[in-house]
């Protein structure tokens, strides 16, 4: 079942005199429970695509539906409502509120949905154990490490069990140990919770944890790679090769 369907999406920036087309009629289908990553060079439009898919930015033409709900015609308030219930976010710079403790940050999405307090506590301890951040509950973001911050951010994205989780360069600011740690945890959550994850990255290692990689070039889908039954190492090599072709430079591995 397709959880997200995007059809012929166009996005142009700028006014009449100086138009710049960032997305040029892109089609995309994501299945329930997939862990997809979107790759591409800087300026290829991958972040714009993520913003549009996640309803933060408006598209110029085309249509997007998530769980069968058409989003292009929704009003601002409906979109907020939609994000509240169906979407989760993980960002490169964590985007934690630094006046709130780790626990308060994580529980934030639940308070919009008016989940009962006992239920909220139960969900918190579940996800926090899974991500290994239980003992940080009462610390402020300024007191924890980058990796811990990103895991907090991930916990916040998962806690209200959204249909899709959007991750924008989640490993961008982490060292390789913290990055692989986070990716392992994301993969496990993807498996245990059957959550759909769409991740934008330019790091081939990060992409190799996914089940499918979509390459974007100049606002169009260039190619896709499916992991299938491949080992992560092999998948990584495939990604590297594709990326090299994409960049126009042959790279020997």
């Amino acid at each position: 079942m397709n959880i997200l369907e995007a059809h012929k999406i166009h996005k142009t920036y700028g006014s009449r005199g100086n138009k710049q087309e960032v997305l040029k009629g892109l089609d995309l289908h994501i299945k329930q429970g997939e862990f997809v990553s979107i790759m591409g060079a800087s300026g290829s439009g991958k972040t714009t695509l993520l913003n549009i898919l996640s309803t933060i930015d408006h598209l110029s033409s085309g249509s997007i539906s998530i769980e069968g709900k058409e989003m292009t015609k929704m009003k601002e308030r409906q979109l907020a409502e939609f994000r509240k219930h169906y979407l989760g976010f993980i960002f490169q710079d964590y985007n934690l509120l630094d006046t709130l403790t780790v626990k308060e940050n994580i529980l934030l999405p639940l308070s919009i949905k008016k989940v009962s307090r006992t239920e909220a506590n139960k969900r918190f301890s579940d996800i926090a154990t899974e991500l290994g951040i239980e003992e940080l509950a009462n610390k402020y973001p300024s007191e924890i490490s980058g990796g811990q911050k990103q895991r907090t951010s991930a916990a916040r994205a998962f806690i209200h069990e959204p249909s899709i989780i959007f991750a924008d360069e989640p490993t961008g600011a982490l060292d390789s140990k913290a990055a692989s740690d986070l990716l392992n945890k994301l993969t496990r959550l993807n498996e245990t919770r059957k959550s759909t994850i769409i991740m934008v990255t330019h790091d081939p290692v990060a992409a190799s944890y996914c089940s499918r990689v979509i390459f974007i070039k100049d606002g169009r889908i260039y190619t896709q790679l499916n992991k299938g039954d491949e080992k992560r190492q092999d998948f990584f090599k495939d990604i590297m090769k594709t990326q090299a072709i994409l960049g126009g430079v042959q790279n020997e591995h």
Partner: protein, 652 residues
């Protein structure tokens, strides 16, 4: 792109961003100009007339300079910090600090003096309006004319040029202190202030509240007679001030965080959007602004307190004039009473005349009052208290039985000195015997003129038969005080209020050697001075209100900028603009409300401790002042909310 173009571009951009700075500048200069214009207005010479009045105006204009200078320096500091990155960039591309300073100076010069001239123009237009208010306050019938005073213009220009130099010196200092790196960090520094609440903070928080309460408690005892000598009073006042100010500081420093933390603990990590927007932000912000907020609330308290006191004085002026005089015309001399009545007869002015005799005797009041102060220090003997006595025949609306007594004109000041037991009795002494009288009540309205009352003591009202007995058995030694002036009080009331002016003209042509007063003239005499005082405190209060409101608003603009990131996150999480705005409203309610409530309560206790020295009525004038202050202050809260609305809208 040369430097001139850069300056011009910056100026255009700044005008949009800093419209409030321009507004604040224009506003403070217009206030100052209007005030100085008044100072040089010939019409005011008559009003202020006395040296005291002129000195008060001059002192006020100096205070005004101080308020405006501090405010402008502060505002400038906030705005230059916002441009830290830009300055860093200039340095990075190789400009010297001197060149940057020159750019800032020219830019500021245009902005500053541009707003200054707008301000002077507005001030010129306002000055007539301001003068009209003043004339109304001192009941002068003169027409306020629009006058342009070059003297005032020159003075305003000099003062504001001096402030400009100060600001520039400050900017120079700022630029020189910074390296390229630190300039880039300016914005980020405040964010690292978020730390966990420590035990020390909890202690500070509790101490803060304790200090404030101690100050309040001591202030309520200030004039209760516990402290008698001037030195003692002075020390106690300093103590109250110190304790309240330190308490306020600690309150902002710790108590808010402490209270916020208690509330947050109770929520167990599960915060609603309103909590997120208000509670968690205020907890940390108030702490870092503690000093500023302390200054604002203390000086606001001072402003509200002084305004209340002078309004109490103004409000009570008519009533206290009546208490002093008791009738349209009153005197204690038969001869002078006759002079007046003859003149009134000659000019066909209808009047009524009453004569009232005032006696003095002693009472044993041991059952009635319970002193809360040491009787020896206060030098009173409750078993033998002197009091004036009048017959109930002359007191309208009061009928006292032969075995009863009523006290009129009981001063509010007594409340802190003694407790009165109702359902008790007192004993009246005469040369022949003692009369036991049941106490039936008291009020605060005197029935005899002030000069009979021995400095505002109450008067016993007794039945006419008892009064006649007292006349016969009178202790002559006690009457000494009244004897040389005469113990009769002649009350002359006009039958038609329209005759008052005529009667006063006659009154003014006569010479009086005794205590002969005209209510109207007495009232007008005090009104000019009190009105001038009220005007000056009002003017300063308004300036302060607006400057402090602006400062908090500027701070909010800054906070909004810093928290914009958070709004982006929250909106991405699916909160609507309205959800965020609701939280912001709560936040503004507290950011503006906490300093306001603190200063209102500070000033309330200050006024309460000594209001009776200024007038006869406390609650109404104080509440009016407080309500006006609160309403004007809230405007800035609303402005801040509007600003946040824009920030939130732009956040996604």
């Amino acid at each position: 792109m040369n430097i001139n173009l850069l300056i011009w571009r910056n100026l255009k951009k700044n005008l949009k961003n800093y419209y409030l700075y321009v507004f604040a500048l224009a506003f403070s200069s217009s206030l100052y100009f209007a005030f100085v214009t008044l100072q040089y207005d010939p019409a005011l010479d008559e009003a202020s007339g006395t040296i005291k009045g002129a000195a008060a105006i001059r002192a006020a204009s100096v205070l005004l300079i101080v308020i405006v200078a501090v405010f402008l320096l502060f505002a400038n500091n906030l705005f230059i910090k916002r441009r830290g990155q830009e300055i860093g960039l200039f340095q990075l591309i190789g400009m010297t600090k001197g060149q940057i300073f020159r750019i800032l100076t020219i830019e500021n010069f245009l902005l500053y003096f541009g707003s200054l001239f707008i301000g002077i123009f507005l001030g010129f237009l306002c000055s007539r309006f301001v003068l009209m208010i003043l004339f109304k306050l001192i009941s002068m019938d003169e027409l306020a004319e629009l006058q342009f005073s070059t003297q005032a213009l020159v003075q305003t220009l000099i003062v504001f040029a001096a402030i400009y130099l100060l600001i520039m010196a400050n900017n120079l200092f700022f630029i020189h202190r910074q390296s390229i790196l630190s300039l880039f960090k300016v914005k980020a520094t405040t964010e690292s202030t978020v730390k966990r609440v420590t035990i020390v903070e909890i202690i500070i928080g509790i101490l803060g509240i304790a200090f404030i309460l101690t100050g309040y408690y001591v202030s309520s005892r200030l004039f209760s007679g516990d402290f008698t000598s001037i030195n003692e009073l002075f020390i106690v006042m300093i103590f109250i001030l110190g304790s309240v100010i330190v308490g306020t500081y600690l309150f902002f420093r710790g108590s808010i965080t402490f209270l916020g933390n208690v509330i947050r603990k109770g929520k167990g990590g599960y915060l609603s959007i309103t909590d997120v927007m208000s509670l968690s932000s205020i907890m940390f912000r108030m702490k870092s602004n503690a000093l500023l907020l302390t200054v604002i609330s203390t000086v606001s308290a001072l402003a509200i307190g002084l305004l209340s006191l002078s309004y109490i004085q103004y409000y009570s002026a008519e009533k206290s004039a009546f208490e002093r005089v008791q009738a349209d015309f009153s005197t204690n001399s038969e001869k002078e009473a006759n002079m007046l009545t003859e003149a009134f007869n000659d000019h066909n002015i209808a009047y009524t005349e009453e004569t009232m005799e005032v006696l003095v005797t002693t009472f044993n009041m041991i059952d009635l009052i319970e002193l809360t102060v040491d009787p020896e220090l206060a030098e009173v003997d409750v078993k033998k208290m002197e009091s004036t006595v009048v017959s109930d025949k002359f007191v309208e609306g009061l009928d006292v039985l032969p075995n009863e007594v009523f006290f009129a004109g009981w001063p509010a000041m007594y409340d802190s000195l003694m407790k009165v037991k109702h359902d008790s009795s007192i004993v009246m002494h005469t040369t022949a015997k003692e009369y036991k009288l049941d106490f039936i009540g008291l009020n605060d309205e005197p029935v005899i003129p002030f000069y009979f009352t021995n400095g505002g003591s109450p008067t016993a009202v007794v039945d006419d038969t008892l009064y006649k007995q007292l006349q016969n058995e009178l202790n002559a030694d006690l009457q000494l005080n009244l004897q040389d002036q005469g113990n009769h009080f002649y009350k002359i009331n006009l039958q038609n209020t329209g005759d008052i002016e005529k009667a006063n003209n006659l009154y003014e042509t006569m010479d009086f050697a005794h205590n002969t007063w005209s209510l109207q003239l007495e009232f007008e005499g005090v009104k000019i001075f009190i009105g001038l005082t009220l005007f000056i405190t009002g003017f300063l209060g308004l300036t302060f209100l607006i400057t402090s409101g602006c400062i908090i608003y500027f701070k909010q603009m800054d906070e909004g900028e810093e928290e914009k990131n958070g709004y982006t996150i929250l909106r991405k999480l699916g909160y609507t603009q309205n959800d965020l705005l609701k939280g912001i409203c709560v936040k503004q309610f507290f950011t503006f409300g906490i300093p306001l409530v603190l200063s209102l309560s500070h000033s309330y206790f200050a006024v309460k401790s000594g209001w009776f020295l200024f007038g006869t009525e406390m609650m109404t004038p104080t509440i009016i002042v407080m309500v006006i202050y609160t309403v004007l202050y809230s405007i800035f809260g609303l402005l801040a909310i509007l600003h946040y609305k824009k920030v939130i809208k732009d956040a996604l």
